[in-house]
């Protein structure tokens, strides 16, 4: 039987409606059954369609499903339609799979929260929006999902809205995303203006004839789309909302702000690869912004004390990595890293959630330590994720990260500088991640006595998701073993039809360029260099944070100025505050206190006051004494008669 594609996002929508409409009336068990069940069904259907897809011949792996016409308006014609090709299939599996695991985890994590039903309703709405985003077959429907995930992100960051910092963080995330969305929309306008359609297939088929390759319009359109991506995926200059987004519940941070939503920008650029390939300037901008963000966020992560903030900056840094991959036209490598990152970063967040849970809400790593024995499942899974993100050979992160490093060096759009900075970032990543592990799990416990007694491993409903993600974080990379290590990079080959072949006219050529020039020995050498350096940096973290903790303090004192800047996150928030927020606040204050109160209100009230004053002045004339009236009357008559006589 042919099943329609729209079933995939339909289930979470149904779950959202059920949980949302019956909020506060259902038992917790039923709420979680609806929420997890709907996402689980989505995942099962995702797998089914994935199997359908790979059973098709390689060059025609597309499943389309037009549900109905959404906007028929003259030339502007948009369908509610879904498109499953290798790229969206990967995304659907990652999104639905990781969401399902995190839904299960949330049952344990949110168990005592009074907003239980609301939480799962939002979470289902998020999964629905995200699936719309990745399954859409045109830019406008993608934008609907794009906005939907932004809304859910706002709702879930501000989930504990009684807390002012959480409510503020939600607003901050929303506003920064709006700035990006504005760029995204403008980009869509240019595309529609030139091509007359927003359907992916039509756009990618017509783009080479409608746009001048490397011309101003295509560059502007792709750069504007990238502005949207910087907002959603937290890149310079719009990244500052993501660390604050950690105010939300930890599973939300894992799902939305690590694994899925923030990768939407990478997905969008990979999806638009045909357009980006036509605009080398935009590619360069993407690569430079990506690498700058990766390095900047990695350095900030070195000095943060809040466990979730370290992970947040790490996410920003890894997203920067994915953009580097997109920027050197290695879109498949970007998506590959997106997938492995979704596994190990979700695992890191869920592990940190488990730690925070055990320590009764403590998030400051200065008050952790020695949790290794107390948490026999959280610790090893967390360690696996850390090894994966650091890029230790054999784990998923190694394959995807090394793919990006290699492409940033060897690609036609790459350079040795890009590679060097990316490698430095990888080393820093290893350093701060192991700093986190050593501070949290090793050494002496630095928590107070009451917390120490309370310390416990999380319930099964939380540890089983951790275990599943740990397995994925290990094996996730084996779908994309590079040729040089004896694999055949099946992941890249799987994405091949979307990336170059089908839509791109000179696909063969571009592909040949992307992997030209350097031999296998160079690749092996670079790989060895990065692995050695990463291990050295892990040792350094061990040295500073476990073996010789005084040295870390000494180092900090010696470079206290640098430490202050990094600890203060380069004062970017303050800079934005001074450059944007304060002028707006001052301008608004001027308009309110001066323009509105003085000028507008003054005008209205002034008129009323003048009339009132004149009336008060005239009031004594009405004395109420009859004789006065009679006298005035007489005088009036005399004057009139006198006037008539004289005239």
């Amino acid at each position: 039987m042919e099943l329609p594609l729209y079933l995939i996002p339909l289930f979470p929508l149904a779950g959202f409606l059920l949980n949302g409409l019956l909020i506060g009336r259902l038992h917790k068990r039923i709420i979680s059954l609806i929420a997890c069940g709907s996402v689980g069904l989505s995942f099962i259907y995702g797998v089914k369609f994935f199997v359908d897809l790979i059973s098709l011949p390689e060059q025609s792996r597309v499943i389309e499903n037009i549900v109905f016409t959404w906007i028929p308006s003259g030339h502007f014609h948009v369908n509610i339609a879904f498109l499953l090709d290798p790229l969206s299939a990967v995304m659907v599996l990652v999104v639905a799979g990781v969401s399902f695991i995190i839904h299960i985890y949330s049952i344990g994590y949110m168990h005592d929260d009074k907003g239980y039903g609301r939480y799962f309703a939002y979470l289902n709405l998020f999964v629905f929006s995200m699936l719309i985003l990745v399954l859409a077959d045109n830019y406008l429907l993608m934008f609907v999902g794009w906005e939907g995930v932004g809304l859910c992100s706002y709702l879930l960051i501000g989930f504990w809205f009684e807390k002012k910092s959480a409510a503020d963080a939600g607003k901050k995330a929303f506003i920064f995303n709006r700035v990006g969305d504005f760029g995204f929309l403008l980009g869509l306008f240019i595309i529609f203006w030139q091509i007359g359609s927003l359907d992916f297939i039509a756009v990618f088929e017509k783009a080479p004839t409608m746009f001048v390759a490397g011309g101003g319009l295509i560059t502007a359109a792709t750069l504007l789309l990238f502005v949207g991506a910087t907002g959603k995926s937290a890149q310079i200059p719009l990244y500052v909302w993501l660390p604050d987004a950690m105010e939300g519940p930890t599973p939300v941070s894992a799902l939305i702000h690590a694994a899925t939503m923030v990768t939407a920008g990478v997905y969008m650029i990979a999806r638009s690869n045909v357009l980006y390939m036509m605009a080398p300037v935009s590619l360069a901008v993407v690569a430079i912004v990506g690498i700058a963000t990766a390095l900047l966020a990695a350095t900030i992560a070195l000095a943060q004390n809040d466990i979730k903030r370290v992970l947040a900056y790490s996410t920003i840094s890894q997203l920067g990595y994915m953009f580097v991959a997109c920027g050197v036209a290695a879109f498949a490598a970007g998506i590959f890293h997106l997938m492995t990152h979704a596994f190990f970063k979700a695992l890191l967040f869920l592990g940190s959630g488990s730690v925070i849970h055990a320590l009764a809400g403590q998030q400051d790593m200065r008050y952790m330590g020695g949790l290794k024995r107390a948490m026999p499942i959280t610790f090893p899974t967390f360690l696996i994720a850390t090894l994966a993100i650091a890029g230790i050979p054999g784990l998923s992160g190694f394959f995807s990260k090394d793919e990006i490093l290699w492409k940033s060096f060897s690609s036609d759009y790459g350079s040795i500088w890009l590679w060097a900075i990316a490698l430095l970032t990888a080393c820093l990543t290893a350093f701060y991640m192991f700093r986190l592990v050593f501070l949290t799990f090793y050494g002496e416990g630095r928590m107070d006595v009451r917390t120490r007694e309370h310390m416990h491993e999380s319930p099964k409903v939380m540890t089983i998701p951790l275990t599943i993600l740990a397995i994925l974080a290990v094996i996730g990379g084996y779908v994309g073993i590079p040729h040089v290590l004896g694999g055949d990079n099946r992941f890249e080959k799987f994405l091949e039809p979307v990336m170059h072949g089908r839509y791109h006219p000179s696909g063969e050529e571009a592909h040949a360029l992307a992997s030209s020039g350097y031999g296998a020995s160079t690749e092996m050498l670079l790989m060895a260099v990065s692995v050695v350096l990463i291990i050295i940096f892990i040792y350094l973290a061990y040295h500073f944070y476990l073996k010789n903790t005084a040295a870390a303090g000494k180092l900090r004192d010696r470079f206290s100025g640098v430490h202050k800047i990094i600890y203060g996150k380069y004062f970017v928030d303050e800079l934005y505050g001074a450059l944007i927020v304060r002028p707006i606040v001052n301008g608004s204050l001027f308009l309110w206190k001066i323009f509105d109160v003085l000028i507008i209100d003054g005008l209205i009230n002034g008129m009323a006051t003048v009339i009132g004053d004149i009336s008060t002045g005239l009031r004594p004339a009405q004395s109420g004494v009859l004789r006065t009236y009679a006298t005035i009357f007489l005088v009036g008559v005399v004057v009139v008669i006198g006037y008539l006589l004289v005239k």
Binding site: Q622, G624, V625, L626, R627, A630, L634
Partner: protein
Amino acid sequence: MVPIPHFLILSALLFATGTAGVIISRNLIIMFMSIELMLNAGNLAIIAFSRMNNVVDGHVFVFLILTVAAAEAAVGLAIIIMIFRNKESINADKFSLLKR
């Protein structure tokens, strides 16, 4: 026959007396009667002119005025009585409620 100017002079004197009465007096009844006086001074002038021109229009007119004046006197006196009942006074200066 009395010459016309005499009537007119008498009429003017009566009118002036009435005006002075309205302006000077505080007693509502006196004010009211002074107004009647002014009215009748006017009537006298009309009749005088009518006679001067040898027509009867003025006489007819004066009859009408007298009729209306009678009705007006009835209403006016009734108002004064009501005011007195309510305020126990007919001093015009005390009735200035519309003033602030």
